[in-house]
Symmetry: C2
Subunit: 213 residues, 2 copies
């Protein structure tokens, strides 16, 4: 693993465990096993490191999803519903995002980056004739980002996120009949079984990557 | 205003401003203008006070909504989208709820109390024939609570919640076609104008109540 990735991973673990305020630079250096010089070569300061952790969330999922259009958007959220339980990078991103809201900071990037990516799926869905006329892709993308944000907080409190896959499947069962055209609706796969199998097939190669020099 | 209400209001303002950790009992006493004895007569400790603030959220809106069924659920969220900007009790409840998630506490009450109340609206909606067959009221109620939670965090970061009414109207525009039967769908009013006018008519009598002995 490269030094930059090592630092991001270590920082994610420390942010996930102690929050932004409690995550000292020394804790992160110790966890990563690198020098302060190496850290400041790659990141300006702790705030910059936190922003990069928030923004690295997407890259852990999206490159690995093989579907397109509406099914792709469903699949990204299904995988996310499992990854969030297992991946410190995703969990840290979520904790940092929630804490910045509570502390009055205003970096919208973690939301807008996801929304932009969801809108890309929806633009393809529109071109493929999968969306009903009244659906505005930007509005739907932003809504799904917000809904996922709140859904995982609810799931965290009631089940430490164990029931997040079920809640994500529910979301689509409620949303799809209102947004998808008839033929698209029939073709979309949305189930807890799919969530688990997509996530399992994604997490296997990811482990392989981790052992690369 | 009664001492208990005075304490809840003062505590809400202090929690809203400083968060749970930063809200000292003395700050709350000073703001409320009451003695420590009075506080401990009404509340066991700071944690109990925080829980009561979280649970008082609903009472600021629901008794004042005149509609029933699906329209009632829409109206509660439309009013909430404005109240959250103006009412420290609602804002404190939201901040305390978000911070407990971040700090690993697990009181689900703020979520389940709203979900229970939303489900009551939806059970009436079902009895009135407003809901499509496939909709499970408990699932939909929990989804709307989670979606509202995340939506207001998103709105907080991008606009200090100024665009929350617009986002709430969007949510229903996306959800209703999939959950409401045809006749119900035609009858539901859902607009930013309605949000503003409901909230305005609700906040006028609330001020009057505040001046009662």
């Amino acid at each position: 693993m490269h030094t930059r990735e090592q630092l991001l991973k270590a920082a994610a673990e420390v942010f996930d465990e102690f929050g932004y305020a409690g995550a000292g630079i020394n804790k992160i250096l110790q966890r990563a096993g690198v020098t302060a010089g190496a850290l400041y070569f790659h990141f300006k300061d702790k705030q910059n490191l936190a922003q990069e952790v928030m923004n690295a969330q997407r890259s852990t999922i999206e490159p690995h999803v093989p579907t397109t259009g509406l099914q792709r958007l469903v699949d990204i959220t299904l995988i996310w519903s499992h990854s969030l339980q297992a991946d410190p990078l995703l969990r840290a991103g979520v904790r940092l995002t929630a804490e910045q809201a509570a502390s009055g900071l205003q970096d919208a990037t973690p939301y807008t980056v996801w929304a932009r990516s969801f809108q890309d799926c929806l633009d393809v869905a529109r071109a493929q004739g999968e969306l009903r006329e009244h659906v505005r892709t930007e509005e739907l993308a932003e809504f799904v980002v917000g809904a996922c944000t709140g859904m995982q907080e609810y799931a965290q409190v009631v089940s430490r996120r164990a029931d997040l896959p079920r809640r994500t499947v529910s979301m689509w069962r409620l949303l799809l009949p209102g947004i998808a055209t008839g033929p698209a609706l029939d073709g979309i796969e949305n189930s807890e079984e799919r969530a688990l199998s997509l996530w399992t097939s994604l997490s296997a190669p990811a482990e392989g990557e981790g052992t690369r020099p």
